[in-house]
Subunit: 347 residues, 2 copies
């Protein structure tokens, strides 16, 4: 049986097309049932493909795209180039049914705008949200959204994000009723913005939703495994996500300084190296790569711009898993439960 | 010459009055010129004071306060008890001129509300902001504000925070024109909320301000030493600050797991212990304790609720330094430069 068919924007990101093609080779080694179409400059992509025996023999299709979206392109400019760019054509393949999911390491704003225009939102969803999995000290990864697709959100948006995040957590972690919390600057009922308090009221008034709403969470608890899903507006979510990345790097930089501060500590470092390698693996953003735009009629996964082959392969895995598990049908199903319930009425 | 006179709320926080009194003993050992009045339950405070030879001989005054603000008290309830609580009386001492600064580890919302009511804001400042120093990999600490005093802020608030933060950075780091950046989810001009873009425009249009405005900063760069001051609304600032704390703890928890994962790594840990101790010191929130409400006619410093003696001593040091350097007069001086310039006109 053949697995999900993936459309890859090989030109996006800091390291295209080398890293995306290397990522495809890596992914196909682990999941030989995946089918790929690589969008990009045909000659450049073919030259990269030729480097990998795993990709030999026409296992992957190459689709020529004469143009590339750059990191500087504004979303409004990008959408006019949907039919000529590797990013636009990869999304178009999802729309046309030629692919089950698209993966791009390119410009987030352009990817969001193009995806929204081509795929449209699921009925019942006003805005898509960018969701990712984050490591925790608990049993499961945390689903966090929105990470930057929507700078400002109203209560209704946040409730929709909660439903979509829960659908993702159910697929990812196999929990029937994921615990959902709203990111806030305190856990008392009166804390935070009016939108947050309103969303909390709506979620509390909707026990029929396939999730357990557990109030607010503060951002120092995100890694403790105390929620399956954390919902925020895109501004706060992006601040939290990037602060995590920056702080993890900050601490490991201090750690490096500590280890090189004396001969004795250098010796200790050498002894501890295998254990510290594990730490590095756990903290490497490539190992948690792949954020998905939830709420569209199609799966589009955004990779870190600087991802390496392993990072791209992880983003591909996220896309493949969501396609296999049919995330969109599941969200549609859950939304049906919302719309027959007084969630909107609570606004 | 006698140094700053400090009013200490000894009953606030998780460990009052033991930790605050221990903190005073610690601080007086390092700065014998400081004078203290300890507000709290007289018998309980006296019993703690008796434990420290450094505090013997009437070196510190005890002022009885029959009541304590708890962590659950709402700001609106707390302000009615300004005349009977250790927190309220410590602030009152600053207002009456009996103390140069107050320090409390109690309820942040109550401390903010009481301080604002008693001390009022400096003319030209609409709202006070909570500011703290954060460690960086650069030469200087970073001044960051607002950390939670104001959930929502307009452009004018953010510009005022920039001026106050720059005054703090000048005192703390001795830089004539501190570099100020606005926290945002991207560095491009069009990123972020309308308030942020408007504040950026106002700061760009005000080159006479005693600071260098350098655009936006993303939260993954906060620890890199790329700014002297980072300004945000209180919601985003609180999210960033608490994410830093949580991530630092997350990474050190992973590190502990790594070190105890095998006999070999345990041996490595023992060898590296002195270096790792340095890392722990650098990451211990007690060593960066003490956030100040800038913009009031008086210095009020907020300590972490869970601070130990060293943490309280650091908060005392922040308060003493700001009092010695006359931060309020400096902010008033800088604001005069703002009000003679077209900053408001740019709004």
């Amino acid at each position: 049986m053949s697995g999900p068919r993936l459309a890859i924007d090989t030109m996006g990101g800091d390291n295209g097309p080398a890293a995306p093609v290397a990522g495809v080779a890596h992914a196909i080694g682990q999941h030989p049932d995946l089918a790929f179409t690589l969008f990009g400059d045909e000659a450049a992509v073919a030259a990269e493909v030729a480097k990998y025996p795993a990709l030999a023999g026409g296992l992957v299709a190459i689709a020529h795209a004469p143009d590339t979206i750059s990191g500087e392109d504004k979303p409004s400019q990008a959408i006019r180039r949907a039919r000529t760019t590797s990013m636009g054509l990869a999304i178009q393949a999802v729309k046309d049914g030629g692919a089950d999911a698209a993966v791009s390491a390119g410009n987030t704003g352009a990817l969001m705008a193009m995806s929204k225009l081509a795929l449209r939102t699921i009925p019942g969803i006003d805005r898509p949200a960018l969701a990712t999995l984050l490591p925790t000290l608990g049993k499961h990864d945390l689903v966090m959204l929105d990470l930057g697709a929507n700078t400002e959100c109203d209560a209704q948006n946040l409730v929709q994000f909660a439903v979509m995040g829960a659908a993702y957590a159910r697929i990812q972690n196999g929990i029937a009723r994921p615990t959902v919390r709203l990111l806030n600057i305190g856990t008392e009922e009166l804390k935070g913005t009016g939108e947050l308090r309103e969303a909390a009221g709506m979620l509390r008034a909707a026990p029929h939703l396939p999730l357990t709403f557990d109030g607010y969470i503060e951002s120092d608890r995100l890694g403790r495994g105390e929620a399956d899903v954390v919902v925020s507006d895109g501004f706060s979510g992006n601040i939290a996500l990037k602060t995590m990345e920056g702080t993890a790097r900050f601490v490991t930089d201090l750690l490096r300084r500590a280890f090189t501060s004396s001969f004795r500590s250098k010796a200790g470092f050498l002894l501890s190296k295998p254990a510290l390698h594990l730490l590095r693996v756990q903290l490497d953003p490539n190992n948690h790569n792949g954020a998905v735009f939830l709420g569209l009629n199609g799966i589009v996964v955004k990779s870190h711009g600087g991802a390496n082959a392993v990072g791209i392969a992880n983003a591909i895995e996220v896309a493949a898993k969501l396609a296999r598990e049919n995330v969109i049908a599941r969200i549609v199903e859950d939304l049906a439960k919302v719309s027959t319930a007084p969630v909107k009425g609570a606004a």
